[in-house]
Amino acid sequence: MMRKLFLIALILALVSVSAVGAQDEAQYAGLDMDLSGITIKMANIGGGQYEVMYDAISVFEEATGATVEIVALLDGFSMDQKLKVDFATGAADYDVAWDHTSFVAQYTPFLLPLQDYFSEDELAAFSPAILDAATIDGDLYLIPRHADISPIHYRKDLYEDDAIAAAFMDATGEELTVPTTLEQIDQQARFFVENGHSTLGYTLAGKEEALTGRFYEMHFASGGSLFDENYEPAFNDEIGVAVAELLAGWYVDGVIPSDTTSLLWDGVAQYFCNNDVAIKLEWYGWYAYFQDTDSCAVAGNFGLARGFTGLSIGGDAVRPSGWAGAHAFSVPATAPNPQAGVQLIKFLSSERVAYEEALLGFLPTRSDVWDRVIADASDAENPLDRERLELARVQVGEDFKTPPLIAEWIPFSNIFYPHLQAVILGDVSAQDGLDAAAAETREMMADAGYY
């Protein structure tokens, strides 16, 4: 009898231990359907670390019996072109497509709403801010894969030097602390450059959507809005003019690089990597590169802080910066096997796969994955590894703000950024440049049927 009781107790103990073990290990999802004989086609983003995730697909194929065929692996902008052409010609014969919060609005007539394919519990795992950005007119069009947002990056040596701090106090009457507002950034960036402490005070990408997005970020952080409630251009208001004048002033005073208007993300990152920039907003995705001592002089010499709040001209409407986006998956409306596509998306966005991708440095979009990666980083050699993740979680959760969810975002950007470049380069005044951009934007929006 005693032996029987002992055996039962042992079995119960083993079951409970294995149950705890199962909870401790991140779980796959989307494996609960027999998809034998089905070929799921997927058009996805490719290149570098993006493709590591696709190694996990063999697990899905083995468990469900499906075959996954990747029909495209292109960079984001090439995928955008492919999707537009395929949607327009009815050739989107794949079940899963790469998507992005910045692009999704233009695809919505060609995508399958996904809210009926996911339970509330399944969706509850994702950041609500990102799901909001994925929902247009009440329909959910994408399931997020990973996100990105920008914290302030600053050179630690500049903020840990007593002599510099004393000089700053003499010059401004204020303590030299890591900036939290755009006005502080302006003041400190100018001080560092004027006094020879740093070659450059700030950097930002100066063309295409990258410039439009950075302006948008400074504008909304200062309480502005690109469009009013009727989609009339509103960026040429006094807040917009103040932001544009700030950028133009930085350019003429050498606070930002002389080739700012030809810089995209890699060029901007290179300046910071060279230890030439005092402060800047930069995507979290560059962290590993900046910490690589073989590649970057700034490695080990920078800290991170939450995005700045905007210019005080915005009064109570100022908020933290946080232009953000998320890579994601969608299902085309013309997908031959939409349910199978959804199952693959459930698998790829599952806790286990998302966690494995987060280990590569991408910012997760699931709360359970955040818990895991932050716990993992608790014993990291560099405390910034953990601080980075904790800060990123706050920003993704609270500051995440996508561009306006309109199909005209990229056409708008193509109208807007050359005018802002002209302002920055001093070709026109801020007011004239923004007014000209507003007039062209209005014509484009009218053609698109907004008024």
Binding site: Q81, K84, V85, F87, A88, Q106, Y107, P109, F110, T199, G206, K207, E208, G254, P257, S258, D259, T260, T261, S262, G267, Q270, Y271, N274, A407, I410, P411, N414, P418, H419, Q421, A422, L425, D427, D447
Partner: protein, 318 residues
């Protein structure tokens, strides 16, 4: 059996002759070229005419219903473009770029062809080296020159800093400043285009009759006089061919511009084809993009006709 077959063949042969002879001799050539014409119509004429049709519609790629012709809106795209400052600016930039690039390329190629024609040692090696730029795709040339002129890590600025001409903080923004942005694109384009032009002109120089030069020498003509009054006029047909080919090629400037400045900053180096790409491909406004393409192609055709007339005139003079 063999005999019967032979008889049958003998009977069939005259029939075939009769069938061919029934075809009008005048129509026979047209019959022969019909397949080629059909293919050309399908592959070239149809897309061209279709794009002409699209240019009269407000078609946008992701709005299939916009591919709809209405008489009231037919000329809207053309009106928009003619009132579009960016279109005129990109046209002006293209003309400046074309004029400077073609003329400088021509002058340099003319000089190179004269030098190469006089080389007596290592001629084959020099000609092969001359062709090296032709082996690079324009996109690679653009990337290479973009790196040369990069303000931060570029070869040119670093060289100027290392020899003390520039200070670290005084880096020149080659791809940004006016007129440096345009000049850098022109330099890259000239580097890429000189070989073709030089080879055409060199072929011309080598084909000139030696008797004329010998007669000039007897009359005591100087080297410059021989070039000015013999070589240059006799090279005219070759010059026009080279100028026509290169003008059409350079006017299509896209790859190098796209890579080096992408038409910017602030439209400072916007060319016709970069603007068309922005409208048609990035903004997916196929109607507007087609209209601009047709205006551009029409201008190119007029330009080509002018050059061919000059070519014909030069040949008549000769």
């Amino acid at each position: 059996m063999i005999g019967r077959r032979k008889n049958a063949d003998d009977g069939a042969a005259p029939k075939r002759v009769i069938q061919f002879s029934r075809i009008d001799a005048g129509a026979f050539p047209f019959l022969l070229i019909f397949p080629a014409v059909l293919v050309i119509l399908l592959v070239i004429a149809f897309p061209l005419l279709y794009s002409l049709y699209v240019s009269f519609t407000p078609y946008e790629l992701l709005k299939p219903n916009s591919l709809n012709f209405t008489a009231a809106r037919a000329l809207r795209n053309y009106e928009k473009l003619l009132n579009d400052d960016i279109f005129w600016r990109s046209l002006w930039n293209t003309i400046v770029f074309l004029a400077v690039t073609v003329n400088l390329s021509y002058l340099l190629s003319l000089a190179l062809s004269q030098l190469l024609a006089r080389v007596t040692f290592g001629q084959s090696l020099l000609r092969t080296l001359l062709m090296v730029p032709m082996m690079f795709a324009p996109i690679l040339v653009g990337m290479q020159f973009r790196w040369f002129f990069n303000a931060n890590v570029g070869l040119v600025n670093n060289f100027l800093i290392s020899v003390g001409i520039l200070q670290e903080q005084g880096q020149i923004a080659w791809l940004v400043d006016v007129p440096l942005g345009m000049i850098t694109i022109i330099i890259a384009s000239i580097w890429m285009n000189i070989p073709v032009m030089t080879i055409i002109l060199l072929a011309g120089v080598l084909s000139l009759p030696s008797e004329t030069f010998e007669a000039a020498e007897v009359d005591g003509a100087s080297g410059w006089q021989k070039f000015r009054f013999i070589t240059f006029p006799l090279l005219a047909p070759f010059s026009y061919i080279a100028l026509t080919i290169m003008s059409l090629d350079i006017a299509r400037a896209f790859d190098i511009v796209r890579i080096m400045t992408d038409g910017g900053p602030a439209r400072r180096t916007e060319m016709l084809w970069t603007y068309i790409t922005r409208l048609a491909i990035e903004d997916t406004k196929f109607g507007l993009g087609s209209a601009m393409s047709w205006i551009t192609v029409s201008l190119s055709v007029l330009f080509t006709l002018y050059f061919f007339r000059q070519l014909v005139k030069a040949r008549i003079v000769q």
